[in-house]
């Protein structure tokens, strides 16, 4: 997205020369062109409008956390983010128990849950996706590549509920027997299930970025005596860095928002711990699990929408940071080339 834009800007043509007088037919054609341009612009803005409307709706539903006195009392920001007294005679803790005599609404266990599953999935999927793409783009014989690419892209077409089911039934048992986890469903199982969903995303976008690196780079590198591996690792990979980063950000966005796999394979217990073998409850799974029966307009309802706002903010900030970083890398690459 952003890297492509940057590339387009780079290739911007020189300003067009002054136009000569036009025949009526040419004018008509010009008008037609304009109309088409307007149409395309309108379509583009529909997408933006949809995004804005969604955000406005979600934020509006969450707003009662600030405006409504009862909601402020039940789910204040200090209750969401600071440790609270949960049971008499026990130390303060972060607990998510929104349906209770005294609702406990700490976001911390949900943050930790999302963080753990996302971290596991990225740790697995990023190297797998990037090295897979590097192999496919640089080393694989043409015929193998023609099989490899569509196969991995097909993996992206598997519905997440199927991946979740696979993680729940097959991977969970296997991993528990191998690593001896106390709980069968945990952050590792959910993270690996997620990795299945995001490897194809990272692979596809990275592969595109690698193939887009000009042939002359490779030829120059090989001509200077570098081995194919050195060329791939030290020349092609850095040149494709912005595209690869975009791939990782896309994968991260999918991982943080993916609901079904996590809902099925994580066990959904809101535990505050650093142990990857513990069951986790993610932000997205919480919305999915609790939205069905929540009383519309209650503090709990507003809280679920607030989680939606948080998820949006995470991906938004990450996209922005990645965009800034990409620009920097492109600048550096241009400077180096000049």
């Amino acid at each position: 997205m952003f890297d492509r834009q940057a590339v387009m800007q780079e290739q911007d043509l020189a300003p067009p020369e002054a136009l000569p007088m036009l025949s009526p037919e040419a004018r008509r054609r010009q008008l037609k062109e304009k109309l088409i341009a307007w149409g395309v612009t309108a379509v583009a803005f529909t997408g933006i409008a949809a995004l804005v409307l969604i955000l406005v709706f979600v934020a509006k539903e969450a707003l009662s956390l600030v405006t409504d006195a009862a909601a402020r009392e039940e789910a204040s920001f200090s209750k969401m983010f600071l440790p609270q007294l949960v049971r008499k005679g026990k130390p303060l803790a972060y607990v998510w128990q929104p349906v209770s005599g005294v609702p406990k609404v700490s976001m911390i266990p949900l943050f930790i849950g999302t963080l753990k599953t996302t971290a596991v999935s990225m740790l697995v999927a990023v190297p797998l996706g990037i090295f897979g793409a590097l192999f496919a783009a640089e080393f694989a014989p043409r015929r193998l590549r023609e099989v490899l690419k569509p196969t991995i892209e097909l993996l992206a077409g598997i519905p997440s509920v199927v991946l979740g089911f696979f993680a729940l039934m097959v991977m969970a048992t296997f991993l528990q027997e191998t690593f001896g986890f106390t709980s069968r469903l945990n952050a590792v199982v959910a993270g690996l299930g997620l990795a299945l969903a995001i490897v194809p995303v990272i692979f596809t976008v990275t592969e595109d970025a690698l193939t887009a690196v000009p042939r002359s780079y490779r030829e120059a590198s090989l001509a200077l005596g570098a081995t194919p591996w050195e060329t791939a690792w030290k020349v092609v990979l850095p040149a494709a860095a912005p595209g690869i980063l975009a791939a990782c950000v896309l994968g991260f966005g999918r991982a943080i928002g993916e609901t079904m796999i996590v809902l099925m394979a994580s066990g959904n217990a809101a535990i505050t711990s650093a142990n990857l073998g513990d069951s986790v409850r993610s932000l997205s799974a919480t919305i999915a699990a609790e939205m069905g029966e929540v009383v519309v307009g209650s503090p709990h309802y507003a809280l679920l929408f607030f989680i939606g706002v948080e998820l949006f903010l995470f991906t938004f900030v990450l996209n922005m940071l990645a965009g800034i970083w990409t620009k920097k890398v492109i600048q550096r690459l241009k400077g180096g080339a000049g």
Binding site: V86, L185, G267, A269, T272, S279
Partner: protein
């Protein structure tokens, strides 16, 4: 041909007459636990009596009983007995003689993996386990292994039932994994050697239904024990009315308590009272 004409005339009469009289509508409101059951009753009842219209809405037992007091519902569904205060208020404000009728029974079953050596636990032990105070099977007389808790999502009626009857209103331990549906819990416990879960009655490979100890006796969650009330983790599900049932309301309640109505109770996953 004649027959169809006749029957369609009868059907027409049945649909037009009540419309003219604005009768034949019964509203039922209350316990979310009972909504599905009463909805099924209403469907079956309306199929038999096309002139009747039964409207079923949830909102919780308290909401239903409040609606009964306001006169906005004919029947209140409640998964608990009416409180003394509610009864007095209803008597005072509405000059009514509230009547409660048990229409079905609700019971929760705890499951463990079939390899678990335990057969029975007390309600107190179950409470400690689900509060997170007891974390090893050894503490309740089992093997030296950690207990892995399975629970239901907080939107489930069973979740609320266990919270009220076993945990006395306290919160489940954070470590309890929440799964959607009894089937998911059964499946998880069947695969988890140290697991414990709860839900409706289930017959599946790999799990064992725990008996619940009361005094020196242990009771299995069988239909018989639930019906007689011997099984400790069971409760009545009530219909509350302002006065003695009469007319359309009586017809509906009679249907619910009939053999056909009680068969629906079993289908939905609860226990019959008759």
């Amino acid at each position: 041909m004649k027959k169809t004409l006749l029957s369609s005339l009868v059907a027409l009469g049945l649909t037009v007459l009540p419309l003219a009289a604005q009768a034949g509508t019964v509203t039922v409101k209350g316990s979310d636990t009972m909504v599905i059951l009463v909805q099924r009753w209403a469907e079956a009842f309306m199929k038999k009596n096309p002139s009747m219209k039964i409207q079923v809405t949830g909102g919780g037992s308290g909401t239903g009983l409040a609606a009964l007091q306001n006169g906005t519902t004919d029947i209140a569904m409640s998964s608990r007995e009416m409180k003394k205060a509610e009864e007095d208020k209803l008597k005072a404000t509405a000059k009514a003689e509230p009547t409660g009728i048990a229409v079905a029974r609700d019971g929760v079953t705890f499951y463990v993996n079939e390899s678990n050596t335990l057969d029975a636990l007390t309600v107190e032990q179950l409470k400690d386990i689900y509060l997170g105070d007891t974390t090893s099977w050894k503490a309740v007389g089992g093997a030296d292994a950690p207990i892995v808790l399975y629970s239901r999502e907080n939107s489930s009626g069973t979740y609320v039932f266990v919270k009220e009857t076993v945990l006395a209103g306290e919160d489940f331990a954070s470590a309890a994994q929440t799964l959607p549906g009894t089937a998911a819990v059964v499946n998880a416990v069947a695969k988890e050697k140290n697991g414990i879960g709860y839900g409706g009655a289930a017959f599946a490979k790999g799990i064992k239904e725990l008996k619940v100890k009361k005094g020196n006796e242990a009771f299995a969650p069988s239909a018989q024990n639930v019906k007689s009330g011997k099984y400790p983790l069971s409760r009545d599900l009530f219909f509350y009315l302002r006065n003695k049932p009469a007319g359309d309301v009586k017809a509906f309640i009679d249907f619910a308590l009939s053999a056909e109505g009680q068969a629906i109770v079993t289908q939905v996953g609860y226990f019959p009272v008759k």
